[in-house]
């Protein structure tokens, strides 16, 4: 028998989400109301940029009249992060049309021409750090069971669909972040030549306090081991190996498919998890993004890690000379 004792029907975080969307909707309604006194509003669009938790609201409007005297339209709905006005024809922002205030901004109406259509772009910060987690259920594969092709799944679904439906239309959620830990440690191990490891071990032992006779033996072993030449010295080779974990290099081994797209990658969990500094990674953290909206409340995709190509690249670093 399945245990379904603790099922929650979409109530988790709903209060928070409804509160935030009420604030978001109130802001846009108030702006519309203030501007409609002097302008004809032609269109509205709202998106939420998830990584920065930004509400982006755009209005297209046409001025009804010529403002002869200096005249300002004040919009005091809290601090705005960014605002600009652009004529739809040139799309070039009119910088002196906006003055920032502590609790909002004002539009200098004498900078606007009658009959011209303008776009007003506004950005407000959604300050609640739990906003996206309360709105979107995100899951990714922690590990793949396959030894061959490494295919990690990623999935997103909206917890609360109805809140995206607003009076002016639908709110879009953009660039929702997902990070997948791509396991790489075994691929490194498999491609490091045994003799290279033995040589490093000898060097380490030579730096430790040892007797003269042992030192002699180790030195003769090192001379023997140095017969096997690589394309660089030990530290250079290790640096080249570390360079593979840089985003610009590692991204070539990643392919993102379906509803997601690649954003970035960084070194993931360290092999020595007790150490407070990076040494050798157990995985690479690959960040992908997707969008959700009222029409598309779910997204699924795949992250393909091209482990054969990665192993081949390591092989090139340790190629005998």
């Amino acid at each position: 028998m399945v245990e379904i004792s603790s099922v929650i029907a979409a109530s988790a975080g709903k209060t928070l989400i409804e509160k935030i969307f009420k604030q978001v909707a109130n802001r846009s309604t108030s702006i519309d109301k203030i501007l409609s006194e002097d302008f004809n509003i032609r269109g509205r669009d709202m998106i939420i940029e998830c990584p920065e938790s930004l509400q982006k609201y755009s209005l297209t409007f046409e001025s009804k009249k010529k403002f002869l005297l200096p005249n300002k339209k004040r919009i005091r709905l809290g601090p705005v992060r960014r605002v600009n006005i652009r004529p739809i024809q040139s799309l070039k922002p009119i910088f002196n049309a906006i003055t920032f205030l502590d609790d909002g901004f004002e539009i200098n109406l004498d900078c606007l021409e009658p009959g011209e259509t303008y776009i007003l772009d506004l950005e407000y910060i959604i300050s609640d750090p739990n906003f996206i987690d309360s709105l979107v259920y995100k899951k990714v594969a922690q590990e793949t069971p396959h030894n061959g092709v490494q295919d990690y799944w990623m999935a997103a679904q909206l917890k609360h669909l109805k809140v995206l439906q607003q009076d002016f239309g639908y709110v879009d959620l953009r660039d929702i972040d997902f990070s997948v830990d791509v396991s790489i440690y075994q691929d490194i191990k498999m491609k490091i030549p045994r003799i290279f490891g033995e040589k490093i071990e000898t060097i380490i032992r030579l730096t430790q306090p040892i007797g003269r006779s042992e030192q002699g033996k180790l030195l003769s072993r090192l001379i023997h081991q140095q017969k096997q030449k690589y394309t660089g010295e030990e530290m250079e080779l290790l640096k080249e190996l570390q360079d593979l974990f840089n985003s610009s290099k590692f991204k070539q081994f990643i392919d993102i498919r379906k509803d997601f797209y690649y954003s970035d990658c960084v070194r993931g969990g360290d092999f020595y998890e007790k150490l407070p500094f990076p040494t050798w990674p157990r995985s690479m953290k690959v960040v992908s993004r997707t969008d959700l909206n009222f029409e598309n409340p779910t997204a699924d995709g795949n992250l393909i890690y091209k482990k054969d190509s990665f192993a081949e690249e390591i092989g090139k670093i340790f190629k005998p000379r």
Binding site: A10, P129, Y137, Q142, R205, L238, E273, L275, F277, T279
Partner: protein, 335 residues
């Protein structure tokens, strides 16, 4: 039945992890849905319905109405099972105007399955020339498809103890000391993260903290959230960590860490989670009384594996890296 349904269930998951299920269909078509699960799965949350709009009967959930027609989301949790790999399925039945359509989605649930194949009564550690010769190792194999992170822990009753020694350990202490000093200014600048920074240092200083995966998970998750909320804090935090690291770095550290890294990794999906630990040996017969603790990449913990008392026989005083006490089998060696 033309309702253009799209059903998503991932093809696999580590046992004990959460998995999603989503169904979308033509918004203009009113349908009812039932979803059947096996005993390996629990439902956690249902999205886009009200509390009164679903019914549970045994291992089937029936949903008759949706807040907005055209979408249903489920968050489910898989359970850890005795069998390390299970081929499971989720059955979705969609009813539209009295006509029923059945869709079966398959999912593989897996986990690591660490087995001790051989525990020697005596392990002989002898110095021959300038090399340590270790005879009779503990033989271990991962029979599951998930990566197992193992950690050898000596019990209180053990005559031999495990310690962290060597250049890396000394280096770690210096880095942490430097980091704590530099962190004072950071704490003044970001008082809201002061406690979090203290907890971070504590997890790095105190070995026992790492026996508790929930603590690591919690601190890591809170730091990640703090980084997401405040990029400036993230940059400053990483910067002082990097400076502490670089100012203590000597050439031997990267070499030593690399060698231990290589030696602790095993092809059969087994990783030692305390690679810098060593067993302190004296020239005598001493008993090692230990257990192996096990976690996976999703931080699920498993029952520890008891190792029978092992006599360690040696002719020298030395520190033996713990990975050298094990022989790791993989499928290739087995066949």
């Amino acid at each position: 039945m033309e309702i253009h349904e799209k059903i998503y269930v991932p093809e696999y998951s580590i046992q004990g992890e959460d998995i999603p299920l989503s169904i979308t269909w033509d918004k203009s078509k009113p349908i009812t849905i039932s979803v059947s699960f096996s005993e390996n799965i629990e439902i956690k949350e249902i999205y886009n319905i009200d509390d009164s709009e679903f019914e549970i009967n045994g291992n089937i959930i029936y949903i008759n109405k949706f807040e907005i027609n055209g979408y249903l989301g489920l968050a489910m949790q898989t359970k850890s099972q005795n069998r390390s790999t299970i081929d499971d399925e989720i059955i979705v039945r969609i009813n539209y105007k009295g006509e029923e359509k059945t869709i079966i989605k398959k999912i593989k649930l897996f986990r690591p399955d660490i087995k001790i194949l051989y525990v020697p009564e005596v392990i002989n550690i002898m110095k021959i020339g300038d090399k340590l010769d270790i005879q009779n190792k503990i033989v271990i194999k991962n029979c599951g498809k998930g990566t197992g992170l193992i950690k050898l822990k000596a019990k209180e009753s053990s005559e031999l103890e495990l310690v962290d020694l060597g250049g890396i350990e000394e280096f770690t202490k210096k880095v942490i000391g430097d980091f704590v000093e530099r962190m004072k200014k950071l704490k003044e600048r970001y008082p809201q993260y002061s406690d979090l920074m203290d907890e971070f240092v504590k997890t790095r200083e105190d070995n026992t903290q790492f026996d508790n995966n929930d603590t690591i998970k919690n601190v890591v998750s809170r730091i990640t959230k703090a980084f997401e909320a405040n990029r400036e804090f993230m940059d400053d935090f990483i910067s002082i960590l990097y400076i502490s690291y670089m100012s203590n770095l000597s050439i031997i550290i990267p070499l030593e860490s690399f060698i231990k890294y290589l030696k602790s990794i095993n092809i059969g999906r087994i990783v030692m989670s305390n690679p810098i630990s060593v067993l302190k040996i004296t020239p005598s017969y001493r008993t090692l009384n230990a257990e192996l603790t096990l976690t996976d990449l999703a931080y699920n913990t498993y029952e520890p594996i008891e190792l029978a008392n092992i006599k360690i026989n040696s002719n020298i005083d030395c520190n033996v890296p713990i990975y050298s006490l094990f022989k790791f089998m993989n499928d290739l060696e087995d066949s």
